[in-house]
Symmetry: C2
Subunit: 560 residues, 2 copies
């Protein structure tokens, strides 16, 4: 059966019943049909307060992975399965995940609700529109653009230099034709011509902002602080100067509230906000994590791409902003992915190869070392594929042991929570026996150059960082503007520990080149661009959209 067929065969529990399991009453839910709900603002506040008390909140388990390969790792499947597994062994576990973007859904990757018997449901709704959060963020983002261009067109009292507008329009699709455009053509009544660029909604600063904001005031402060352009005399212009923040925040009044859904095994899952993990922080909202921490004894959450991107940003950006930290990290690996890191071609992956596995293990090894630098214990989740041999799995377990990490075979895809009980027990065990001694990789007080160099050397294993003079100048300006304390969010390829997507395995001792930097003063970090980062993906020759259909009863097929 396909994922969607498994999901459709499943009988869901009313979401109010799922909420009740974690102490959230019906009066604290805003229902979106019987199987989806948002948490009311009042309940959100109560849960935030509880989660901020270290005595009252649950343990936080972060799922991350080895460097992605075309072989696939199944991080969401492991996260969801682990949540189910923890519930099966008697723990009150809650999962917190990102919302899927429509771009990948219709492009190459498909949806993002897990797979097999480790899925969240209703998967069609979660993958398509869900409760409208991404649409709300998209239109709020584009209203900011319309307000800016209207201001330039009407009076330009703020003296905005149209050549300096950095705030981009968005659409939540893969649409390469919108990457580079010219707007405002047509003459006197049709605006001021300028170059513009669309990015996919999930790569936007506003997505990052909603993901970090914990209240409407916090949201408004962040929107006020967005740097959107410069004036003709090069003064950075914040959106607050347009006096239109209230309308933008009003559009986001529901988007800021976490959504609750369920796994196939009827366990609670908060699914909220979906920032990309290359250009932004790559993890679900602070609000969703706080709700989960307040309502579960164990919280399973994940961060996008591999540990060099998702986990580092989770620790240094999200944990710092939210005042939380993980108690353990689960690193997802597959025999197939490691064999690719060891040099095997995708077509050959079904052939057993201990040698390729050993060689590719270097990638996992680096990620395990990196996680130690944050003072958090880790476990390796070996996501089982049918082609894996017993010898390969035994070898992988042995290799992990040499790094002091336990490797646990996971069969969530085929068996749901039952196939994840061993990992669940291992997670409980490690959190009970090993107290995390969490620390950030860098201090807020360090300079931007130091922050970037620390990440590049310690996480990416570069020997040094190359900063163009223009970047050094911009970083100095940001520091002078009072932003020195901000963390950095490095935008680099997800396909390598380095900046170069071709370097698989465990590259080291190279020069990490920074191309440009951009101040996300609303979100509260500095984006550091290294290599070509896609903020607007394109569709492939045969988009996933071509497989999707719907019948007269509204039943969807071909969504994966």
């Amino acid at each position: 059966m396909t994922d969607i067929e498994i999901a459709q065969k499943n009988v869901m529990a009313p979401i109010a019943d799922v909420a009740k399991k974690i102490g959230i009453g019906e009066e604290s839910l805003e229902l979106y049909g019987p199987y989806k709900a948002k948490i009311t603002m009042a309940e959100l506040r109560a849960l935030q307060e509880k989660a901020r008390d270290p005595q009252k909140r649950g343990k936080l388990i972060l799922t991350t992975a080895v460097t992605p390969t075309p072989a696939g790792e199944g991080k969401s499947t492991v996260s969801i399965g682990l949540g189910d597994g923890l519930n099966r062994i008697g723990k009150k576990a809650v999962i917190a995940l990102r919302e899927p973007s429509l771009g990948p859904c219709f492009g190459v990757k498909g949806g993002a609700c897990g797979g097999g018997y480790a899925q969240i449901v209703p998967m069609e709704d979660i993958n398509l529109h869900f409760t409208g959060d991404i649409h709300a963020i998209s239109i709020a983002n584009n209203l900011i653009s319309a307000i800016i261009d209207n201001h330039i067109h009407q009076t330009n009292a703020l003296r905005i230099d149209p050549r300096t507008v950095t705030w981009k329009r968005v659409v939540d699709l893969n649409d390469r034709a919108l990457r580079n455009i010219t707007i405002g053509l047509g003459g006197r009544t049709d605006g001021i011509p300028r170059e513009d660029h669309f990015c996919i909604s999930v790569a936007s600063e506003l997505m990052a902002i909603v993901c970090l904001a914990t209240s409407i005031s916090d949201l408004k402060k962040r929107i006020d602080n967005i740097t959107v352009a410069q004036t003709f005399d090069r003064r950075p212009l914040k959106f607050g100067e347009f006096k239109c923040t209230g309308a933008i925040a009003a559009l986001l009044k529901d988007a800021i509230k976490p959504n609750l859904v369920q796994t196939l095994e009827k366990n609670p899952v908060f699914v909220h906000c979906g920032p990309f993990a290359n250009i932004a922080q790559g993890t679900n909202s602070v609000n969703a994590t706080l709700c989960a921490l307040a309502s579960g004894d164990y919280v399973v959450t994940e961060a996008g791409f591999a540990a060099d991107l998702g986990a580092e940003k989770f620790m240094d950006i999200k944990c710092r902003a939210a005042g939380i930290s993980p108690d353990a990290v689960v690193v997802v690996a597959t025999v197939r992915a490691l064999k690719m890191h060891g040099g095997m071609a995708k077509a050959d992956l079904s052939t057993p190869s201990i040698a390729a596995l050993q060689k590719g293990f270097e990638n996992l090894s680096v990620h395990l070392d990196n996680i130690k630098k944050f003072g958090v214990p880790s476990i390796v989740a070996v996501n089982k594929f049918v082609t894996d041999t017993d010898e390969e799995i035994a070898m992988l377990e042995k290799l992990c042991e040499t790094k002091g990490a336990r490797a646990v075979l996971c069969e969530g895809w085929a068996k749901g929570g039952e196939g994840m009980e061993e990992l669940a027990r291992a997670v409980v065990d490690i959190t009970e026996k090993t107290k995390a001694d969490f620390r950030y990789l860098y201090e807020s007080s360090a300079s931007f150059v130091e922050k970037i160099r620390t990440i590049a050397r310690q996480i990416y294993r570069a020997s040094d960082v190359e900063f163009p003079p223009s970047v050094l100048k911009k970083l100095r300006e940001y520091e002078e503007m009072g932003y020195k304390e901000l963390p950095v969010c490095i935008a680099k390829t997800q396909n390598s520990l380095s900046h170069d997507p071709k370097l698989m395995g465990a590259p080291k001792d190279y020069i990490f080149p920074v191309r440009d930097v951009q101040l996300y003063s609303g979100a509260g970090f500095v984006v550091v661009l290294a290599g070509d980062i896609m903020t607007m993906p394109g569709l492939p020759k045969m988009p996933a959209a071509l497989n999707i259909d719907i019948d007269d009863d509204g039943v969807i097929s071909g969504l994966f």
Copy 2:
């Protein structure tokens, strides 16, 4: 109190209770919070079937108006108040309205939920996002664009001529900078450069399609039929050829289902789809009207702008597509608007003037004559303003009498349903005493030229129509392609009975110039452009967005 303050003071009934009043059980609702719901697909089908039986459906009352002026007419306020008034006098009345677009909401006009004590609620939600229908239509529209541009970029197996793409991207905002743009810049990997244009979502063909489709199959057939471009050898290309209709329809799976909300007096209102009334049909969905007709003894619905645009399209496009017809028409007029049509400046409207009223009455008189041509009886609703004098109102009543139309003073804005009881009684009276003898203005079998000429002469009072040779050629081509039976949807200014916005009052004997035509083969009509039609409005110097705010409890202010 402002509209939003009145709305927020009101205590809503759970929407399930409101639905129960019209025989719709909770199992037939998909709740979006406690006060909004969609009708399930099963219930929609049951209601459609009932509504198609003339013995079982309620009476249909269409609200239309005199030609709009900056003085405002309050058509929605009258429609909502009339629904409440009918319920107050013991009739089971249901209202069917369009969904507001975010463009006007942040631009000049504000929201579209009525005013004073004749409002629909929750007005903040209905005005902002609502149940996500317009967002779903926007993203589905833009996925069609992405699929087209991706096809051109990848292989262009269909040999699409990029210069001929007529399918436009949309955003549901007033954003003039997107009216004329160049896309696909940047080089080899960033698409094929071409000219493009955004329009506001509510002006799109896809909005018109969702508004007319009665099932998923019907929707898919219409999407298949959309003409999106031409090939290099000038063959019109339909979207069906891209084999991606299923994904587009899947995105619209919920958008096709009507939404139920309530008036301040807790009466049921279907609010669904919002096509513009200049470029499209300007009235709520067929599905919503059918649901209302099946569940109410009286259904009050409205069509955008004045009777020359909204009412004509309601009769000739919507009624034809849905197999329904109105039993009576209510024409909304105000003393102030008629005085403007009589030549008074807006600043002087508070000064009593019988002369200006008499002169301006000509506009109302033409609309009353026009409605007679459809064989439907009409009533004039005089929407009372505080500056109206008794003499002016008496004169207006007398003038209407000369046309054989009863004029009824309406005080829905100030008094809610209580101020609308007299109009409600008059509506019941006219539908009981006068049987409508409904007829279309033109037959489907007439040529496009005949159809356009009939509307221009009979409704717009032009002496003739000017067709450029290129338009005649296109119309002939459409007929040869097999579209001869389609109705025409004339896109012209709303500010005059003619094509010229400066001609107030009752212009006649002029030449009506057709500029261009466009085949909406998906929606099922031919758009006839006369004059400059704005399909992407711009923001004013001081956008309404600047007044909107939200507090930490999520309470919105300044939305009107």
